[in-house]
């Protein structure tokens, strides 16, 4: 393996490619750094026109603590397990099996239901 054998074009693609991936995501970063500022700014304006003169950023920001709580809950959720879900799957399994391709059993379900209704 000799990188000297690699053509000019390959080097171009390599460098340029990575740069552009960066550029694309930097763009997104920029926009989403801007967006909340715009929101805050317009919210402030609205509040001001409604008569409030003193607005601090704290009033607008939602505490990250809630987030942290959710994150923990999610983590616990994903590492522990849902017994209810297992139960549901088990019941469904018993219920839904057997081929619809030649299924009197299925048919019976449906027909009983039908007889109950009619």
């Amino acid at each position: 393996m000799n990188l000297l054998t690699v053509t000019n074009q390959t080097w171009t693609i390599t460098l340029l490619g990575w740069v552009i991936v960066f550029a694309a995501l930097l763009f997104l970063v920029g926009v989403f750094l801007l967006v909340p500022k715009v929101f805050t700014w317009s919210a402030k304006r609205r509040l001001k026109t409604k008569g409030k003169t003193q607005v601090t950023d704290d009033q607008l920001a939602i505490s990250g603590e809630t987030n942290a709580a959710i994150a923990t809950a999610l983590h616990l959720y994903f590492s522990e397990m849902h017994d209810e879900e297992s139960a549901v799957i088990t019941i469904k399994e018993v219920r839904r099996r057997y081929s619809p391709w030649n299924s009197k059993l299925y048919g019976m379900n449906n027909s009983s239901y039908y007889k109950l209704r009619s």
């Binding site: 469904k92 009197k104 059993l105 019976m108 449906n110 039908y114």
Partner: protein, 415 residues
């Protein structure tokens, strides 16, 4: 009210005249109206286009068949998931139309034709098998493997019908496709006939499904005829419990073994065992659930509808179709008898307390789980405490495997 009835009455008479005497209303009107042009010509052109102008007795007969299928499904609950799509398909396929407007299932570029593609190329049946695999429990078969042989015995129906069809003058390919009706397995029948004899596919599929719906009518007399009452009362030991590992190994071993023997059955058996592995692996419940619900339902709708529509009267109502229906009935009987007799034969080699109840041989024809239920009912008639359902499921599901293997062999020999 009266007025309406009079109006309909006149219309009906005109209509009957046309069918019975072959009067060509449009021609009559055309010559009558002469150069009046405009609206009258438009009306005539449109009349020529309607179903009323193009209907044939064949169409009417097939529409009656379609309505009958739907009636059976709704009233007697015979295989509604199949008979309703097929029945509506027959209606749709037999509404008369002028060719060239991309309406019919056989016209290239029509919507029905695009949906029919999955039938014509044999794509739908493997997807159905995937779903069936994901809903089938092979435990009863794993716990008592020797019952599996009964599923092979009943496939005699396939080969007997193949022989019969050859004798009736069908080409080998056609005979092979007709034979598979004896497999009592819809998707397999469609798959094989789409490859070997596409022109007979409609008749073969309709025959297979009709007789599958009639399993509770066809099998019991044969069972009573061939199995003495004493043997019908044999009680079987409850099957042993099957471990999770065995359940996971079954689809893998089954896939490799059967497909090594009959590689042409790969699309069917590969998918069947794949679906079963999705179910049994315990880690892909999400995929198994989709395979046995939305996926199989979508395919069932499309397959039933287009198979039904493929029975367009001009293609379907032939002497060959009648022969196929006759052979189909025969093959179901032979298959049932084969399973039953082989079960009795098997008992010769089994120890006293290990004997099988020969009735379960009838379940070997597949037609899951209808024939297993028939066995259960017949068993209960002889002894109200003898539950055979669980035991009958073993030959029942192995019958599915057996007929897929047979289909593969037919393909190897005849394609």
């Amino acid at each position: 009210m009266k007025k309406f009835m009079t109006f309909y009455f006149v219309l009906a008479i005109l209509f009957c005249l046309q069918i019975v005497f072959g009067t060509d209303i449009s021609a009559a009107v055309d010559s009558a109206s002469g150069a009046e042009g405009g609206v009258m010509h438009g009306l005539v052109a449109l009349w020529d286009f309607t179903g009323f102008a193009n209907v044939t007795l064949g169409n009417m007969a097939m529409i009656a068949v379609g309505l009958f299928f739907i009636f059976l499904a709704v009233k007697y609950d015979y295989e509604p998931l199949l008979l309703i799509p097929i029945g509506v398909g027959i209606l749709i396929g037999n509404i008369p139309f002028l060719p060239g407007y991309k309406i019919g299932v056989y016209e290239e570029g029509s919507v029905m034709n695009y949906l029919y593609f999955g039938v014509k190329q044999g794509i739908y049946p493997p997807l159905i098998f995937l779903g069936i695999g994901a809903m089938t429990d092979f435990s009863s078969l794993i716990s008592n493997p020797k019952l599996m042989i009964l599923g092979a015995a009943a496939q005699v129906g396939i080969f007997a019908t193949f022989l019969g069809a050859s004798a009736l003058g069908f080409s080998p390919e056609e005979a092979g496709a007709i034979g598979i009706i004896g497999g009592a397995d819809g998707p397999t029948a469609i798959f094989l006939s789409s490859k070997l004899a596409p022109q007979l596919m409609g008749a073969i599929a309709i025959a297979a499904y009709s007789y599958m719906a009639l399993v509770p009518v066809i099998q019991p007399p044969i069972m009573r005829l061939l199995i003495p009452k004493k043997e019908r009362a044999i009680k079987m030991k409850p099957p042993r419990a099957v471990s999770k590992t065995e359940k996971i190994l079954f689809p893998l071993i089954g896939l490799l073994l059967t497909c090594f023997i009959s590689p042409s059955a790969l699309p069917l058996l590969g998918m069947l065992f794949f679906g079963n592995l999705l179910k049994e692996s315990g880690v892909t419940e999400r995929l198994a659930d989709t395979a046995r619900n939305s996926m199989i339902n979508i395919v069932t709708i499309l397959l039933g509808l287009t198979v039904g529509a493929s029975t367009q009267a001009d293609v379907f109502l032939t002497l060959a179709s009648i022969k196929i229906f006759g052979l189909g009935a025969l093959s179901f009987m032979v298959a049932t008898a084969g399973g039953l007799l082989f079960a009795r034969f098997l008992n010769v080699f089994l120890k006293k307390d290990n004997k099988i109840n020969p009735l379960i041989g009838a379940a070997g024809v597949s037609a899951v789980p209808d024939s297993a239920r028939v066995v259960q009912n017949e068993g209960l008639k002889t002894d109200p405490n003898n539950h055979l359902l669980m035991h009958a499921m073993a030959p029942n599901v192995s019958g599915v495997i057996g007929s897929a293997v047979a289909a593969g062999i037919m393909l190897s020999f005849l394609l």
